[in-house]
C-alpha cells in the first residue's frame, strides 16, 4: 500500500524539483550585480541535484518493487491534494523516469557550465533556467496526471523568456511559435486527461488506478490520438515539428541543449506513460498511422538537415529525425521497440545537448553558424573539433557510441512486428542512416576540416568549464555505447509492465 504522507523517499524525490525552486528564491534575493555568485549558486544547485539523482539511481535496486507489483514505483507516495476535482500529489520513480532524471541532471550541470560567460541579465537567465529544471523534474516524478500536466506546463513560462530575451535571430517570432504550438499540443492532452478522468468513472488522475480500467473502445478511439498527438507535438511529431528547429535554433546555447535534450523528451515520455500505457487498444488501433508519421519524421528530418546551412538548424532537424526514431520505436508496440525508444531518448538527449554545446562554443568564437563561412577549425580548436566529431559519429549511429545501441533495439523491435508495413518502414528507417551520415560528415568536413582560415587566427580552444561540460556529456555517450547493460539494467524491469499493459 502506498503511503499517503510525505515519506523520506517522497521528500527526496520532491527535492529534485524542490532544489531548483529554492534556488530560484535564493537567486531572486541575490543582487543582480553579483554575477559570479549567481553562477556558482546555480552550478551548486545543479550539482546537488545531480548528486541526488545519482543517489536515487544507486538506491533503486534496493527499493525496486517486485515484478508484477500493482504500482511498480520506488519511493512512491500518494498525498491527497485537492478533493474537488480529485487530485493527489503522487510521486515515485521507476527505471525510465530515473534515466530521464539522470539525463536532465547531467544536462543541467552542463548547461550552467556552458553559460558561464552569460553576463547580461545573468540573474534572470539562471532563474528562468531553474524554473525550467523544476518543471522537468516535477514531470518525471509525477504519476498523477494533473501534476504531470502541471509541471509540463510550468516549463512554458521560462522557455518564452529565455528564447525571447537571450536568443539570437528571429528570437521573438520563434519563441512565440514554440510556445503557441506546445500550448496547442497540451490543449489536446488536457482534453484527453479530462476524458480519462470522467470516462474511467473513478474521478481520479492516478495513473496506476486508471491503468486498471478497461476504457471503452469508442473512448480509446478518440482519446488515444488526442493524447498521443498532444504529447507528440512536444516530441516533434511530423507535421507538428516546425516549432523545434526554429525554437531550438534561436535559443541560447544552454537552453537549446536543455530544450532539445530534455524538454522534448517529455513528449516521448508522455506518449509512452500516458497515451500508450492507459489506452492500449487505441494504441493498437492507431499505431500504423503514427508509424508512418514517425517514419516520415526520420527520413524527412534527415533530408532537410542535408539542405540546411546553419549549424543549429542542421542539428535541430537531425533532432527531428532522431526523435522520430523514438516514436518509431513505440510504434513497434513490443519490448525491444519501447526499450529502444527509451534508450534513444537518453542517447539523443546527451548527443543533441553535446552538439548544441559545441555549436555554441564555435559560435561564441567565430560569431557565425553558417557552415559556408566556417572551415579548418580542427586546427584552431582541436578539443572542440574532436568533441564535435565524436558527437557526429554517435549521431550517425556508430557502434561503440550510444546511438547505435538505441537504433539496434528500435530496428530489431520494429522489424520483429509482423505487419509488412512495419518491415517496410523499418527498411526505410535503416536506410535513413545513410542520409544522416551524409549531412553529419558534410557538416564536420565543412566546419572542421580543410585549410585553417586566417580570420580564425588566435581563437582560444575550450576553457575549463566548457571542457568539463563536453567531457561529462561525452562520458555518458561512450559509457552507454560501450556498456549498454549499465543502462538497460536500469530500465528493463520498468518497461516490462508497460509492455504487458500494451498486450492487454
Amino acid at each position: 500500500m502506498i503511503p499517503t504522507t510525505l515519506t523520506p523517499g517522497a521528500l527526496l524525490l520532491s527535492l529534485t524539483w524542490g532544489i531548483p525552486t529554492l534556488t530560484i528564491v535564493a537567486l531572486a534575493l541575490l543582487p543582480a550585480a553579483r554575477t559570479r555568485l549567481i553562477r556558482w549558486v546555480s552550478l551548486g544547485s545543479a550539482l546537488l541535484n545531480l548528486a541526488l539523482v545519482a543517489g536515487l539511481i544507486a538506491a533503486w535496486p534496493a527499493h525496486r518493487p517486485p515484478l508484477g507489483a500493482e504500482v511498480p514505483l520506488a519511493f512512491a507516495a500518494r498525498i491527497p491534494w485537492f478533493d474537488q476535482p480529485h487530485i493527489t500529489y503522487f510521486v515515485g520513480v521507476d527505471g525510465i523516469s530515473l534515466l530521464m532524471m539522470l539525463l536532465a541532471a547531467l544536462i543541467a550541470v552542463c548547461g550552467v557550465l556552458v553559460s558561464w560567460r552569460v553576463e547580461a541579465r545573468a540573474k534572470e537567465f539562471f532563474i528562468y533556467m531553474q524554473v525550467l529544471l523544476a518543471g522537468v523534474f516535477g514531470c518525471f516524478i509525477s504519476f498523477d496526471l494533473f501534476t504531470f500536466f502541471l509541471f509540463n506546463e510550468v516549463t512554458l513560462i521560462p522557455t518564452y523568456l529565455l528564447i525571447g530575451i537571450f536568443g539570437t535571430g528571429r528570437k521573438e517570432y520563434c519563441a512565440m511559435k514554440l510556445n503557441l504550438m506546445l500550448f496547442a499540443g497540451s490543449a489536446l492532452v488536457l482534453v484527453g486527461l479530462l476524458g480519462l478522468y470522467y470516462a474511467s468513472g473513478l474521478h481520479t488522475f492516478d495513473l496506476y488506478a486508471l491503468a486498471k480500467v478497461r476504457f471503452p473502445a469508442d473512448f480509446q478511439h478518440w482519446a488515444f490520438p488526442a493524447l498521443f498527438l498532444g504529447f507528440g507535438v512536444l516530441g516533434a511529431l511530423f507535421p507538428f515539428h516546425t516549432w523545434s528547429p526554429d525554437g531550438h535554433s534561436s535559443a541560447p546555447t544552454a537552453i537549446s541543449m536543455f530544450l532539445a535534450g530534455v524538454h522534448m523528451k517529455l513528449g516521448g515520455y508522455g506518449c509512452l506513460r500516458v497515451a500508450m500505457f492507459l489506452l492500449p487498444e487505441g494504441a493498437r488501433e492507431w499505431m500504423n498511422v503514427f508509424l508512418v508519421l514517425a517514419t516520415i519524421n526520420i527520413i524527412y528530418g534527415a533530408f532537410i538537415a542535408v539542405k540546411q546551412t546553419d549549424l543549429k538548424y542542421i542539428n535541430a532537424y537531425s533532432s527531428v529525425s532522431h526523435c522520430g526514431l523514438v516514436l518509431f520505436g513505440y510504434a513497434a508496440l513490443n519490448f525491444l521497440g519501447v526499450r529502444g525508444a527509451v534508450l534513444q531518448m537518453f542517447s539523443h538527449g546527451l548527443l543533441t545537448a553535446l552538439i548544441f554545446a559545441v555549436i555554441g562554443m564555435i559560435y561564441s568564437r567565430t560569431h557565425t553558424r553558417q557552415i559556408g563561412e566556417l572551415g579548418g577549425l580542427m586546427t584552431r580548436l582541436p578539443f572542440i573539433g574532436v568533441a564535435f566529431t565524436l558527437a557526429a559519429l554517435a549521431g550517425l549511429g556508430l557502434p561503440g557510441l550510444s546511438g547505435f545501441v538505441a537504433e539496434l533495439n528500435v530496428f530489431l523491435g520494429a522489424f520483429a512486428r509482423t505487419p509488412v508495413l512495419n518491415k517496410v518502414c523499418t527498411v526505410i528507417a535503416i536506410l535513413s542512416i545513410v542520409v544522416t551520415a551524409v549531412y553529419l560528415l558534410r557538416t564536420i568536413n565543412k566546419v572542421l576540416h580543410g585549410p585553417a582560415q586566417a580570420k580564425d587566427e588566435g581563437l582560444k580552444d575550450a576553457d575549463l568549464a566548457e571542457r568539463a561540460a563536453i567531457v561529462i556529456l561525452l562520458a555518458g555517450v561512450i559509457v552507454m555505447g560501450v556498456w549498454p547493460r549499465a543502462v538497460t539494467a536500469l530500465i528493463d524491469g520498468s518497461i516490462e509492465p508497460i509492455v504487458e499493459q500494451l498486450a492487454r
Binding site: E124, N179, V191, Y197
Partner: protein
C-alpha cells in the same frame, strides 16, 4: 437570532453602511475635498467588512434568513469577499488618479462622490447575491448598476467618458427592460416573487414554457453584465471611456456580481430549468471566448484590451454553469477569486505607471523589475499557466464542461486560451524584451500599495498550491 447567525449579517450591514460613512466624512471632515480622508474612511470600513467576512466564514452558521427576503450562506460570503476586495483595491488605484497634476488625462476630481458611489455599487452587488425574492434581486442589481453608470462617466471633461457612460446606460436600460420583462413572466407563471414559492411551483410543473421564456429573458441581464457575446459590445467602449479604477472594478466586481446573479437564480429557484439551457450556456461560452480573444488580438488601448480579455474570461466562466451545483458553484467561485486577483494586479500595475496604452509597460523589467514580475505573473495566471492559480481555475471550469460530456467545447476553449496566450505574452514581451521608453524612470510605490501588490501576487501562488482554499470554496458551495 443568536450571535453566530447575526455575524453572517454583519458584513452586509457594514458594507451597506460604508457609503454613508464616506459621505459623512466627506461632508464634515474633508473641507478641501481631498482624496486621502475619504479613502482612508472607505478603506477602514472595507477592511472591517473583510474582518467581519472572515469571522463569518470561520465561525458563522451555514445559513441565515432575514425577513424572508435576504439570505446569507458561506458561498455568498465568498462573493462578498470578491466585491469588498475589488472595491478596496479599486479605491487604492483611484487615489493616484486624484493625486496627479491637473490636466493629466487620468486626473479625477470629487473624491467624496467617487468613493461613495463605489461603496454603493459594492453594497448593491452584495445585496444581489443575497436576494431571496425577485424584488430584492432587482433592487440589488440596480443598486449595483446605477452607480457604475455614473462612475464610468466620471471624467467631467472627457467626451469619451460621457459617450461611454451614455452607451452603458442605454444598453443597460435595455437589459433592465428585458430582465424586468422576464420577472413579469415569471411572476405571471408562478404567481409569486418569493424564490421559495417559485421553486415550489416549478417542482410541481417543471418545463413550463412560460417559465423557460422568463428564464431566458432573465439570463440576458446576467449576459449583459458579464458581457457575454453578443451582449458584450458595451464593454470595450465603456472600459475605454471610464477611469482606470472604474474599469478595474467593472471587469472584476461587476462580473462577479453578474456571475452571482446567475448562480442565485439558476442554482436557486430556476434550477429545474437549467439543464434545458445547457446548449445556451455552451453556445454563449464558445461565442464569448472567440469574440473576446479575437477582439484583444490587436488592441493598443490598455483598458480596451482588458475589456476584451475579460470578455473572453467571462466565456470560460460560463462553462461552469454546465455542471451540477455542488461542483459548479465551487469551481465558479475558485475561478472568480483567482481571476479577480490577477485582473486587479494587472490594473494596479498600469495604474501605477499611469498607462493609457498597452505599450506603457515597455521595458518595465529594466525600470521596475518588481512591477514587471507582478505583471508577468498576473498575465500568466490569466493565460492559465501553472503554477499560478489561473491554471487551476481554468482547469476546474474545463473539467465542469468535460464532466457534462462536452469535450469539443473543452477543446475549443483550450485552443482559445492559446490565442489568449499569444496576446498576453505580447504584453510580457513589451515588459521584458522591448527597450524602455526614453523618459521611463522607476516609480516609487507607496508601502501600502507595494504590500497590496505583494499580497495579490502571493495569492496567485497560494491559491494554486494551498488546497485549503479550494476545499473551503467547494465546501461553502454545498
Amino acid at each position: 437570532m443568536n450571535l453566530s447567525t447575526a455575524i453572517l449579517l454583519l458584513p452586509d450591514a457594514l458594507l451597506l453602511l460604508a457609503p454613508f460613512v464616506v459621505l459623512f466624512v466627506d461632508l464634515f471632515f474633508n473641507p478641501r475635498h481631498e482624496a486621502r480622508p475619504v479613502l482612508r474612511a472607505l478603506s477602514w470600513v472595507l477592511l472591517a467588512v473583510g474582518g467581519a467576512l472572515a469571522a463569518a466564514l470561520c465561525c458563522g452558521e451555514r445559513e441565515v434568513v432575514f425577513l424572508h427576503a435576504y439570505r446569507v450562506t458561506p458561498w455568498m460570503l465568498w462573493f462578498k469577499v470578491c466585491f469588498t476586495g475589488a472595491a478596496l483595491v479599486a479605491a487604492r488605484m483611484a487615489e493616484g488618479c486624484f493625486a496627479v497634476a491637473d490636466g493629466h488625462p487620468a486626473r479625477l476630481t470629487r473624491p467624496g462622490e467617487f468613493f461613495t458611489l463605489l461603496a454603493f455599487a459594492a453594497g448593491g452587488m452584495s445585496v444581489t447575491v443575497s436576494a431571496l425574492d425577485l424584488i430584492t434581486l432587482f433592487i440589488g442589481l440596480e443598486m449595483a448598476t446605477i452607480p457604475l453608470y455614473v462612475l464610468s462617466g466620471f471624467y467631467r471633461r472627457h467626451l469619451d467618458s460621457a459617450e461611454g457612460a451614455m452607451k452603458f446606460i442605454i444598453m443597460g436600460s435595455l437589459a433592465t427592460a428585458f430582465v424586468l420583462f422576464g420577472y413579469s413572466l415569471l411572476y405571471g407563471a408562478t404567481g409569486h416573487l418569493q424564490f421559495s414559492a417559485i421553486a415550489a411551483y416549478l417542482a410541481e410543473h417543471p418545463g413550463d414554457p412560460l417559465v423557460r421564456a422568463a428564464a431566458l429573458f432573465i439570463f440576458t441581464a446576467g449576459a449583459f453584465k458579464l458581457a457575454l457575446a453578443p451582449f458584450h459590445m458595451w464593454a470595450p467602449d465603456v472600459y475605454q471611456g471610464a477611469p482606470l479604477p472604474v474599469a478595474a472594478f467593472l471587469s472584476t466586481a461587476s462580473k462577479a456580481a453578474a456571475a452571482g446573479f446567475l448562480v442565485v437564480l439558476f442554482y436557486g429557484p430556476l434550477a429545474p430549468v437549467r439543464p434545458a439551457l445547457a446548449p445556451v450556456f455552451a453556445a454563449f461560452a464558445a461565442a464569448t471566448m472567440l469574440v473576446g480573444n479575437l477582439g484583444s488580438l490587436r488592441q493598443t488601448n490598455f483598458r480596451r484590451f482588458m475589456a476584451y480579455s475579460s470578455i473572453a474570461q467571462a466565456g470560460y466562466l460560463l462553462l461552469g454553469f454546465l455542471a451540477e451545483r455542488e461542483y459548479a458553484v465551487g469551481a465558479l467561485l475558485y475561478f472568480l477569486v483567482v481571476y479577480l486577483t490577477a485582473n486587479l494586479a494587472v490594473f494596479f500595475v498600469y495604474a501605477t505607471v499611469r498607462g493609457e496604452d498597452v505599450a506603457a509597460v515597455n521595458g518595465l523589467s529594466r525600470t521596475n523589475p518588481a512591477l514587471a514580475a507582478v505583471l508577468m505573473l498576473a498575465f500568466f495566471s490569466l493565460a492559465g499557466i501553472p503554477p499560478l492559480a489561473g491554471f487551476n481555475g481554468k482547469f476546474w471550469l474545463f473539467a465542469a464542461a468535460a464532466g457534462a460530456g462536452r469535450y469539443w467545447l473543452v477543446l475549443f476553449a483550450v485552443l482559445n486560451s492559446v490565442v489568449a496566450l499569444y496576446y498576453y505574452m505580447n504584453v510580457i514581451r513589451a515588459a521584458y524584451i522591448e527597450p524602455p521608453a526614453a523618459d521611463a524612470r522607476p516609480v516609487k510605490l507607496p508601502r501600502a500599495d507595494a504590500l497590496l501588490l505583494f499580497v495579490l501576487v502571493a495569492l496567485l501562488l497560494v491559491l494554486a498550491l494551498w488546497p485549503a482554499f479550494n476545499r473551503a470554496v467547494f465546501a461553502a458551495a454545498l
